[in-house]
């Protein structure tokens, strides 16, 4: 039952997948709430009036690219390359932070124009769904930052660190998939 043995890895990967599936259900509930409330604009704006598709498309491209760099970080972890992992994780972090900054910009713009989450049922569910995804991204960035420091401080890439990089990659790809659904259901279907 040492940290490096196969059985240990199996249970950790399985457990993390189980967590991701439960998180998927959490987003499922938020998507359901959005589907129910999206028409309840209560005299406020509908999605087509406030969403800027080019801006969100930019956000999407940045997040997709960060998923790609997260994948490269995992590959570097399998090779045992400390430098590769650090480089690609840093790139992923930068892209993730840029995505989060853009989301914050959009939220601020909406709140400033009087279309905050308190405005209507539609905006409540919109802010909560997209904001929960943003909160996950922020948690992922925190995890990434801690991992970068831990790896940078260690002499070489230990199996434990490599596994964490790989699990973080799973988390990041999962958030990417959730975002694809947000992009489609909230933004594309909201504008069209």
């Amino acid at each position: 039952m040492n940290s490096g043995t196969t059985i240990n890895d199996e249970k950790r990967y399985f457990g993390f997948w189980a967590y991701l599936m439960s998180d998927c259900l959490l987003f499922g509930a938020l998507f359901a709430a959005y589907a129910v409330l999206r028409g309840n604009v209560a005299g406020g704006p509908a999605g087509s009036e406030i969403f800027s598709l080019p801006f969100v498309f930019g956000e999407t491209l940045i997040l997709l690219t960060s998923s790609f760099t997260a994948g490269l970080a995992s590959l570097a972890a399998y090779r045992g390359s400390k430098r590769g992992v650090l480089g690609w994780l840093t790139a992923t972090f930068a892209l993730g932070a840029a995505f989060l900054a853009m989301e914050m910009t959009e939220f601020t713009r909406l709140v400033r124009s009087g279309n905050g989450p308190q405005r209507s049922g539609f905006l409540t569910s919109y802010f909560t769904l997209v904001g929960t995804h943003g909160l996950h991204i922020a948690a992922g960035l925190l995890w990434m930052a801690v991992l970068i420091v831990q790896i940078a401080a260690s002499r070489s890439l230990t199996p434990k660190m490599a596994r964490r990089v790989s699990l973080l990659g799973l988390f990041w790809h999962f958030l990417d998939i959730v975002w694809i659904f947000i992009f489609t259901i909230v933004y594309l279907m909201g504008v069209m």
Binding site: M1, S3, F14, A18, A33, L37, S120, G121, T124, Q150
Partner: protein, 660 residues
């Protein structure tokens, strides 16, 4: 500085003051006893910081017992109020206080009694029954327990500081929205459930990984004991249902804290969505509670009939069917909401379909006893009581699954009687059977049989006296949650009978307490002299000695067939003749981090309930810091060498031989 917290939060009526005083006295008493016996260090080292699943299991049971007392007192207070508050008599509880009590009773019994009893037994039994040295994630396991304990503490704090929700145990909006429940009651409700619920979710993930990846060699899925199958169904439900609860509670919190509009009556909220969401967690929750009881009875009936379980494959199929179907029936909790005839018909039929796999189980248990050598022990008494009670309650359920009938019975006392029949007669009787059955495994002595049977008879007689009147009152038109009714209804005699039933149940609880105390005091008389196999058991937990060593199994067993211990005994190769080859065993070190995280979680909940923003933010930051510190800790395990294992095992053998 203190948000909404003012001196007014500490002003209560005399009943609450008495409760708070007794709670405070109990805490001071325990603290004084620990100081007198110089046991603080022992408590911290051996229990509070432990990552041993067996000890965590025991701590779950202790918290559940304390909360059962609280929930039971709530029940007696309600029965007392309804027995007297007819016509001119108003009873001794104000309407608002009564509302808080029925809310607290439901919350206590489901979240803080039934759930910890289930998770306590899972902790104690699952690793032993699958032949594993630990759960998949021991640290996470301790975090789960302590988050649950923090939720329970926050719930109890509402008694002393402020007040609890008066909304009913599921806090439907718009009543639970800020406009209609402006106090802190609903906030306490949200956060005690949120914190405990996250603990449950993490437990679910942990045990799912444990059962899937850590079974002994040879134990294929279809070789697993029935208890493990039922636990697996339970755990799958936890992992898929609890996130929905987390999300729903989160939405209600956003409505209340940030004036959002998920469920408000105005600005485009939709209260009916809440009812759908909460029950799409709530119905699976019913099966989260009852599946473990099914698992326990499968073990108990098989062992005490000295026969393998009848129809193993059909049992597995029935468990899987119940797991799946339990996600497809949530709407039967609100047929009257007006979803339309087609939708109601679908959910009504889906509900009735669940009776089929449940019936399969009942018949399988009965056929297991058929031509078996049945031992009439206390766990079997609970089983017989369960079969009668649960079948009756099940038939009441099928009746209410007819939407047309439900329009008459919805929110009546008939419903209250129905779900108590299921949860007391199903869940609680099952957990009592399991407690009695597995008690000697962890203590080395059995519970007194005579007192146990007296407790059983009080429970079963008291139960029917308390709840048959409620079925009748439901038909007479009595709705649930009444603190007062007109004398002309003619309900009072039945309410008095129900009150007498509750008192008889309370006497049963006293017998159970006496049973535990007597068995501990005169434990030599009840000593298990078989080295851990007092019931002639069939599964792996009975193959290790008592008390179970910290590493569970000195050598990981092989479990290539069902009932592996029974088969080994039958073939004459148990107990093993020669000494096995021992190996080094790696175990997790104790950690204070779970306790710290839970303490901060409690402060976080308290801060957010009272809008003390700095406290909430500081606690959240503290939790993150604790997790980061833990992630940097590379010294989390220790090794017991093979030689040390051999020494410990031979010592255990010697001490066993010296016993009378």
């Amino acid at each position: 500085m203190f948000g909404n917290l003012t001196a007014a939060a500490f002003e209560h009526n005399w009943i609450v003051n008495a409760a708070v005083a007794s709670m405070g006295l109990a805490l001071v008493g325990v603290a004084a006893l620990l100081t007198y016996l110089r046991r603080w260090r022992w408590l911290w080292r051996e229990w509070l910081t432990t990552l041993d699943h067996k000890r965590i299991g025991v701590m779950y049971l202790v918290v559940a017992a304390v909360m059962l007392f609280k929930g039971g007192v709530d029940a007696l207070m309600m029965r007392g109020q309804q027995a007297v508050a007819a016509g001119a008599a108003q009873g001794y509880l104000s309407a608002n206080h009564y509302d808080q009590i029925f809310t607290a009773h439901g919350v206590t019994m489901i979240f803080f009694v039934a759930m910890p009893l289930v998770f306590g037994l899972f902790n104690l039994i699952i690793p032993l029954q699958i032949g594993s040295r630990d759960v998949a994630f021991p640290f996470l396991n301790a975090v789960s327990f302590w988050l649950f304990a923090a939720g329970a503490a926050l719930f109890n704090a509402s008694l002393a500081v402020g007040h609890f929700a008066a909304t009913g145990w599921l806090a439907y909006p718009p009543l639970s929205e800020l406009a209609y429940s402006p106090g802190v009651g609903v906030d306490y409700w949200i956060w005690c459930l949120q914190i405990a619920g996250i603990g449950s979710l993490l437990s679910g993930i942990n045990f799912l990984a444990t059962i899937i990846t850590m079974r002994a060699p040879g134990m294929k899925l279809m070789k697993m004991p029935m208890f493990i199958w039922n636990a697996l169904g339970t755990i799958v439900l936890v992992v898929f249902a609890f996130p929905v609860l987390t999300a729903t509670l989160g939405m209600l919190f956003l409505d209340r804290f940030f004036s959002m509009h998920f469920f408000t009556a105005a600005a485009g909220g939709n209260a009916m969505m809440y009812v759908n969401l909460i029950w799409s967690w709530g119905h699976p929750e019913v099966y989260i509670l009852v599946l473990p009881a099914f698992g326990i009875f499968s073990e108990v009936v098989s062992v005490f009939s000295e026969k393998k379980i009848f129809g193993y494959a059909s049992m597995v199929a029935a468990t899987a069917a119940i797991t799946l179907l339990s996600f497809m029936v949530w709407l039967h909790h609100f047929f009257t909401m007006g979803a339309g005839a087609d939708v109601n018909a679908f959910f009504g039929i889906a509900t009735m379909v669940i009776a089929i796999p449940t019936g399969v189980k009942i018949f399988n248990w009965l056929f297991t006893m058929y031509k078996g050598r049945v031992h009439f022990t206390t766990p079997m008494y609970w089983f017989f009581g369960f079969v009668a009670t649960f079948t009756l309650g099940g038939m009441a359920g099928v009746l209410m699954a007819v939407p047309a009938a439900d329009f008459e019975l919805h929110n009546s006392l008939f419903l209250v009687a129905h779900f108590h029949t299921m949860i007391v007669g199903g869940v609680l009787f099952g957990l009592f059977a399991g407690f009695t059955y597995w008690f000697p495994k962890f203590t080395g002595f059995k519970l007194d049989e005579r007192l146990g049977k007296w407790a059983f008879w009080c429970w079963i007689v008291g139960f029917f006296l308390a709840f048959v009147p409620l079925y009748i009152l439901g038909f007479m038109g009595a709705t649930r949650r009444l603190d007062h009714y007109a004398a002309s209804t003619g309900w009072q005699p039945l309410f008095i009978v129900a009150g007498i039933g509750a008192v008889i149940i309370a006497i049963g609880v006293l017998f159970q307490l006496a049973q535990i105390v007597v068995s501990i005091l005169w434990r030599e008389r009840y000593r298990d002299t078989t080295n851990g196999d007092p019931w002639n058991g069939r599964t792996l937990e009975w193959s290790v000695g008592t008390p179970v060593p910290v590493y569970n199994f000195a050598v990981i067993p092989n479990a290539a067939e069902r009932d592996p211990l029974w088969e080994a005994k039958r073939r004459g190769c148990w107990p093993p003749k020669e000494n096995p080859a021992y190996e080094d065993i790696t175990l997790p070190r104790n950690s204070a981090v779970p306790v710290i995280i839970a303490a901060l979680g409690f402060l976080f909940g308290f801060g957010i309930v009272w809008h003390i923003v700095w406290l909430a933010l500081a606690s959240a930051a503290g939790i993150v810091a604790a997790l980061i510190t833990r992630s940097c800790d590379n010294d989390t395990e220790y090794v017991i060498s093979a030689a040390e294992v051999e020494r410990m095992e031979s010592q255990r053998m010697e001490s066993r031989l010296q016993k009378p």
